[in-house]
Structure formats: C-alpha cells, structure tokens
C-alpha cells in the first residue's frame, strides 16, 4: 500500500539559512537538499552527495524556495537607493553561498555610497592615499612604493590597510611577502628575518623552501651584509647583460640583486650540490641496483626542485633545468631497455611463426603473447614521451624515436587484432 506524499510549499522570506527542500522518511530520518521525484524513486541532492529512496520509505517532501528566489524577494523589498538595505541583502547573499550576486550587490552599494567601508572591505578594496583601490591594484601600488623606497608609507599605511581585509591565504601571503621585503629593503634586518620565517611557516610546499632560505640567509648575515664571491648573474662574465650585474665584494642584502645573488649561491651550494651528489651515486649503482638508483633519482629530483624553488623570481631562475633533463634522459634510457626487451621478445615470437606446424589454439596463444609484449612496449613508450615532453628541445631525439616506435607498434597491434578477430 502506498502512502500519499504531501508536498508543502513554504515561502521562507525571512529564513536566514535556506538549505533547499526537506525530505522526511518514515523511519524518522530527515535530509535537506534538492529533492526530485522520478517514478518510484525519490532523489535528494545534498552538498556532499546524493541519496535515493523508494517512495514507499518517504513520509513527506517539503519544497522550499531556492536561495535565488529568496534573494529576489529580499531585493524587491529593499530600497534601491539605500546603501544599508542593499548591503543587508548583499550580506545575506554572501552568507548563503550566492557569491556572484553578493558581489554584484556590493558593487551597487558602493555606487550608492562610495565610502561604505564594510562593502569596500568585503570587496577587498583598500583605501590608500585617500583613494579606494581593488586588491590587485593595491598590491601593484604597494610594489610600486617598494620600488620607490617609500618604506614608511608602506609599513605605516598601505600594508595595515591591506592586512585589515578578509584575504584568502594566497592573498595574505602576497601582502606578507611585500611586508617582509619592505622590512629588508628598509634595513630592518631583524624584522625581515621574523617576517620571512613566518612566511615559511604559513606557506607550504616549495614556496616555503624559498622563504626559509631567505630567513636562513638573514640568520647567517644578521647585520644584513652579504659577501658576494662571484659576479652575479653568473652569465654576466661571458655574455653582456642589459641589467646591471653585481661585482664581488661586501654588499647590503637590502638591495634586491644582492638577495638574488645570496639565494643563487645558497641554491647552488646546498641543494644543487646535494642533488648532483645523489645523481652521481645513482649513476654508479644503476647497473647493479636499478631500484635503489630510481630512489636516488627521485631524491635528486627533489633537491633540484628545491634549488629551483629557492631562485624562483630572481634574475637566474630554473638553474637546475639541465639536471632535470639529465635525470629524464637517464630514466628514459632505463625505460628504453625494457621497451627493447619487449620488442625483442615480440620479434622472436614473430620469427618462430610459420616454422613449425601448430594448432589454431597455439597460434592464437602466440599472437596473444605478442599482443601482450606490444602492449607493454607501448606503455613504456608512452612513459618515455611523458618524461621527455617537458623538455622538447633537449630531448628532441628521445621524443622523435618514441613517436616513431609508437606508430610502428600501433600498426602491429592493428594487424594482430585483425588476425585474432578473424580467427574467432
């Protein structure tokens, strides 16, 4: 016996946290989400997943207004020239995951009242030098002031204004980065050290490596004086550069080029050297212990990634690229051996075909073995291409060979597949 399903429509004009429809089950459980009925099945879509029930399990469905409908009603009720009314609706929209509409409404609020502080704050607008600026614009302005050496202005007004905004993690990092640089370039070495250490803790992954490296440099050279022992950028000795280069001698870390030189030196001396050592060890053990060699290659890759992370954004980025290429080349060479072994086995089977009488079943089994080896070789070649593709210039031959062989293998597989199908 079927129960009657009651549908109740509720207009929740004042509801502050509308979730959607409500589904009540006979066993007492309740779900909120978007409910739809299709034949005997009732589906409820929720934020974290979808559930389906038979109509027999359902006690009732309560249909409610969607957030968009509620918003439209709220907006209709609000006075269009009242910044406070509009802001209240915008706030409700933002609180109910209607970000796009909320931001549009905030934009309306500031056309009605350009100095509506809370609307500006929610739009990530900062008031700098008496003018409102969007976040990205403010950040550029801050960078400009840093270049112009307006340190007091930055630390006293701009950065506090930006820090007061409800920023996302990446945006907060960008602001803190400028603050740390401002400290350093302004000669406040201790404050800079603290700021970069904090950045290293608050950011994750490779960005943290860079900040930690800067903090470590500032610990080692706590008076802010670095001693440049090689001309920087290093290519300046061989190739004339448009930008000024840095000569050997003591120099202040408050100059960005000196910090770049210190980072380059640190990346070279620590990470690059450690990676090169691991690479040499891997090379030595590769013929006898390929698995251990692979682990060492992975560790070396990690070191090279850290080296690149330390110098990112400096005048000498990607210093470990040649080493990444070398690792890729070595791994390709090892993979190539496996591909060649598969191809050789395939050739052996191919050569044995037609030499002796064999049953249809044996013939099929041999074709299937060939197919298996071709499949294995194809996977190997795809792996080679995946490894080589990031370095198309350096590994042009590896890419070309893999592509040609892959084409050949595909041709073979097609022939074998036809033969196997015909034999069915």
């Amino acid at each position: 016996m079927r129960r009657t399903i009651t549908a109740v429509c509720v207009v929740a004009l004042l509801a502050s946290s509308v979730q959607g429809d409500r589904l009540d089950l006979l066993d007492g459980r309740t779900f909120e989400g978007l409910v739809s009925v299709d034949g005997d099945t009732v589906t409820v879509k929720m934020t974290y997943g979808t559930l389906q029930f038979s109509q027999r399990e359902v006690a009732r469905i309560v249909y409610m207004d969607t957030p968009e409908e509620v918003l439209a009603k709220k907006l209709a009720a609000a006075a269009p020239d009242s910044a406070e009314d509009l802001f209240a609706v915008a706030k409700w929209a933002l609180d109910n995951a209607l970000d796009r509409q909320g931001k549009q409404l905030l934009a309306k609020v500031i056309t009605v009242d350009p100095d509506h502080a809370e609307a500006r704050r929610r739009l990530l607008h900062a008031r700098i030098d008496g003018k409102w600026h969007a976040f990205d614009q403010s950040l550029e302005l801050a960078r400009g002031k840093l270049q112009a050496r307006r340190y007091e202005d930055l630390l006293g007004k701009v950065i506090p204004a930006l820090k007061a905004l409800p920023l996302a993690s990446a945006q907060r990092t960008a602001v803190d980065d400028i603050r740390a640089r401002t400290y350093l370039q302004g000669g406040r070495v201790d404050d800079a050290r603290g700021a970069f250490s904090a950045l290293a803790e608050q950011t994750g992954g490779l960005a943290a490596v860079r900040y930690a490296a800067i903090a470590a440099i500032l610990v080692e050279y706590s008076d802010g004086m670095y001693v440049v022992n090689k001309v920087y950028p290093p290519q300046a000795t061989l190739v004339p550069t448009k930008n000024p280069s840095l000569d050997v001698g003591p120099a202040s870390l408050s100059r960005p080029i000196v910090l770049d030189a210190a980072l380059h030196d640190r990346a070279t001396r620590t990470e690059l050297e450690a990676g090169k050592k691991l690479l040499a060890e891997a090379r030595k053990i590769e013929p006898t212990d390929p698995d251990a060699a692979r682990t060492k290659y992975a560790l070396a890759t990690l070191r090279f990634q850290r080296a690149d992370a330390i110098v990112v954004g400096t005048r000498t980025p990607h210093i470990a690229r040649a080493w990444h290429v070398e690792i890729a080349r070595r791994r390709i060479s090892a993979m190539r051996k496996l591909v060649d072994a598969d191809a050789k086995k395939c050739d052996e089977i191919d050569a044995s075909l037609g030499r002796a009488e064999m049953s249809r079943k044996d013939y099929r089994a041999m074709l299937q073995r060939m197919m298996y080896h071709l499949g294995s070789a194809r996977e190997g070649l795809k792996g080679i291409l995946a490894l080589a593709k990031p370095y198309p210039r350096a590994l042009v031959l590896e890419i070309k060979w893999a592509e040609v062989d892959l084409k050949k293998i595909e041709g073979w597989r097609k022939v074998l597949a036809t033969e196997l199908d015909n034999g069915k």
Partner: protein, 395 residues
C-alpha cells in the same frame, strides 16, 4: 629579610632586562652603521665608506669584525692594495665562516697581485736564445743524451737540447695543469724523444703524421701505460727548429694531458685543439687576426657548428683552428678556475659544450644563451684583431 631578598631579585631582573634592551639597541646601531657604510660603498663614496666602517671595525669590544670587509673593499677599489690586504687580515683574525675565510684569502692574493703589477710573462724559449745558442742547439751528436726530471725522460742527440727540452717540458706541464686544467695533477712519466730531423722523426716516431713536426702517443702493454712525445730538432734547412720548443712541445703535451684527463671519452675537437693552442708559449697573433677577419665577415657564425665539427669535415683547417683557439681562450679568460674546471668535467661527463658551460656557471637554461655567447665571443675576437691590426699598422 624577605623584603630585602625581593628587592635584590627585583634589582637583578631589572638589570637583566636593561642589559638585554641595551644589547638589542647596540646590535641595531651596529647594523645601521654597517648598512650606511655599505650604501656609501655602493654609491662609490669609497673614502667615506672606509671611514664609517673603520669606526665600527675598530671598536674595542670587536662587535663588528665584518666591518673590516667594507674597509678592505673600499681600499681595494681605491687601489690601496697593501692597506686592503691588511684589512682583510684583520677580518680573518676574527672570522668563523669558512666561506668568508676563503673569500678573504682570495682577495689577499688578488691585492698582492694587483699591488705588484702585472706578473712578468716568461718569454718564449726562442726569444731567450742567442745566435750562438741556436747554432749549438742545431748540432747533432752521434749518441743519444738523456735528461731526467720529475715528469720527463728526455732523449736528444744534443746534451744541451735534452736539458733545455726537459726544463721547458716541466714549465709547459706546470702551465697546462695549473692554468689550463686549473690544478689538475699529473702523476705520470713521459718519454720525450727529439729526433735529429724530419726523416728520422718519420722513421722512428709512433703514428707520426707526415705533415707534423711532433706527435704524442699513449700505448698500453700488459697493463703498463707508456706515454711518449716525439719531436724534431732541425728544420728542412738544418737549423735548430725553435717552433719545436715554443709551440710543438707544449701543444703535444697538452693533447697528452687532456687525453688522459678525458680517459675513454672523446674530447670535442674544438676543445682539444683550443686547449693545445692555449698551452703554447706565446699567442700566435696570426690566428687571432684570421679569426677576427672571418668572424667580422660572417657575423651569423654558429657556435653549435663549431662545437660538433668532426676532424674529417673541416673545410679550412686554419680557420677552424683560429676559431677554436679564440673561443677556448675567451672561455678560459672569462671563467673562474673553478668554473673552467667544472666545465671540463661536465664535457668529460658527456655534456655538450654549450650545456657544460651553462652548468659550470650555474646560469639558467636558456635558448638565447648560446647565440648571446657567440656574439660576445665574436665581438671580442673582432676587437682583438682590430687592435692587432692597428698595432701592425703603427709599426
């Protein structure tokens, strides 16, 4: 009693806090002072930078020993090399960083070198010989004379020539291992034989090319390696062949040392020949003039082509040799000894020359690097050739 103790504890705490604050502000003051001196150094206000840093460095509490580096650098840039070296030594006395000690050591060497002016270059052997010496060295005795040094066993049909060749061989080896291979050791012995003339050379020398006046060989027999250099004493007119000592001996010796350094790996021709020409006692200006002339006419000349050119494809050997010499000399001149040695190691490890250069100087991998390097080399070579031409015209 209790309150008195409390007063003492309170007094000690206050004194501690005051001490910490004072130390903090003292450190901040030192940092500020050093930063000001560095700013002046950067702006080129050398005497003011020196004076400011000297105040910090001379503090009785030795709280800013690193200020001596600013003092030293300012003096060095002003050309006061002896005073600069003294400042570097003052810094070294309080230095705990191995990196900075190495830096200060290098700078002291640099100051000493700069202070004493350019080192007198040892003239080529031919320039040191008189007409009587040349006549004596052209004499061929019946017996082979042998002269032995640390690295060489020299045999020649002239006792004085054997001795002179041994001295020049050691000098060449020092130059090759020190300047060209940047500290490479050579713990081997080489047999050098100076044959009386080209005929005798061709009859006895191992693998002697018909056109050559000298050659080197390394052979292995039952695990014993034999290194040998064959040379010629007299030219076709029967006079002592001065080129043998000036060029052929160091050239062939460099091939030998480079060959051993590279082991089983084939050294690119441009590098092998470039290094060998660099080892010669004096720069052959004709090579520089030729390279300058060719490069001025062909500004689009590619370095990639030079890097991979095998011997049998060389159209004009003189041009190839001139280009090889100027390019390798350019690299050696612009790179530090460590960088040049790393460059050679990378080539030995299988890298291409362009890749090895970029790795050695730790510069970012860029497609623009090799073309830019080619332009820099061409500009320098053309400039050198123009300078030589101007000198020749003046004479």
């Amino acid at each position: 009693m209790v309150s008195r103790r409390l007063v003492i504890v309170y007094g000690v705490a206050v004194a501690g806090v005051c001490g910490l604050v004072a130390a903090g502000s003292y450190h901040a003051e030192t940092t500020r002072g050093l930063q000001d001196a560095l700013a002046k150094l950067h702006r080129g206000q050398l005497s003011q930078a020196e004076a400011d840093a000297l105040v910090l460095a001379s503090r009785s509490d030795k709280s800013a020993p690193r200020a001596w580096l600013v003092v030293a650098s300012a003096r060095q840039r002003r050309g006061k090399y002896a005073a600069a070296a003294r400042a570097y030594r003052n810094f070294l006395a309080n230095c705990t960083s191995p990196r900075l000690r190495a830096y200060a050591g290098e700078q002291i060497v640099q100051c000493t070198a700069d202070g004493s002016g350019p080192a007198p270059r040892r003239a080529a052997p031919s320039k040191r010989l008189t007409a009587a010496d040349l006549a004596e060295l052209a004499t061929v005795e019946k017996q082979m004379r042998t002269e032995t040094t640390e690295h060489f066993v020299v045999r020649a049909r002239n006792a004085r020539l054997a001795k002179l060749t041994a001295i020049e061989a050691e000098a060449s080896l020092r130059r090759i291992c020190g300047y060209i291979l940047c500290g490479q050791a050579y713990p081997h012995s080489v047999a050098i034989t100076v044959w009386a003339d080209h005929k005798e050379y061709a009859d006895h020398a191992r693998d002697a090319p018909e056109w050559a006046g000298g050659s080197f060989t390394i052979t292995s027999d039952n695990g014993v390696a034999t290194r040998r250099i064959d040379l010629t004493q007299r030219d076709a007119d029967g006079r002592f062949d001065t080129i043998m000592l000036d060029r052929v001996l160091p050239h062939e010796m460099c091939h030998l040392v480079v060959h051993e350094f590279f082991g089983d790996v084939e050294c690119p021709l441009v590098l092998d020949e470039g290094l060998a020409m660099l080892a010669e006692c004096e720069t052959d200006n004709a090579r520089v003039m030729l390279a300058g002339l060719v490069l001025a006419a062909d500004r689009e000349a590619s370095l990639d082509d030079l890097f991979v050119r095998p011997r049998h494809t060389i159209g004009d050997p003189a041009v190839f040799y001139a280009k090889s010499f100027t390019f390798i000399e350019f690299l050696r001149n612009r790179m530090t000894p460590e960088q040049f040695r790393a460059f050679l190691s990378y080539v030995k490890g299988g890298c291409g020359i362009g890749d090895a250069i970029q790795r050695a100087i730790c510069c970012p991998d860029s497609e623009q690097f090799i073309p830019a390097l080619a332009r820099a080399w061409q500009d320098r070579t053309v400039l050198q050739a123009q300078f030589l031409r101007a000198l020749a015209d003046r004479k």
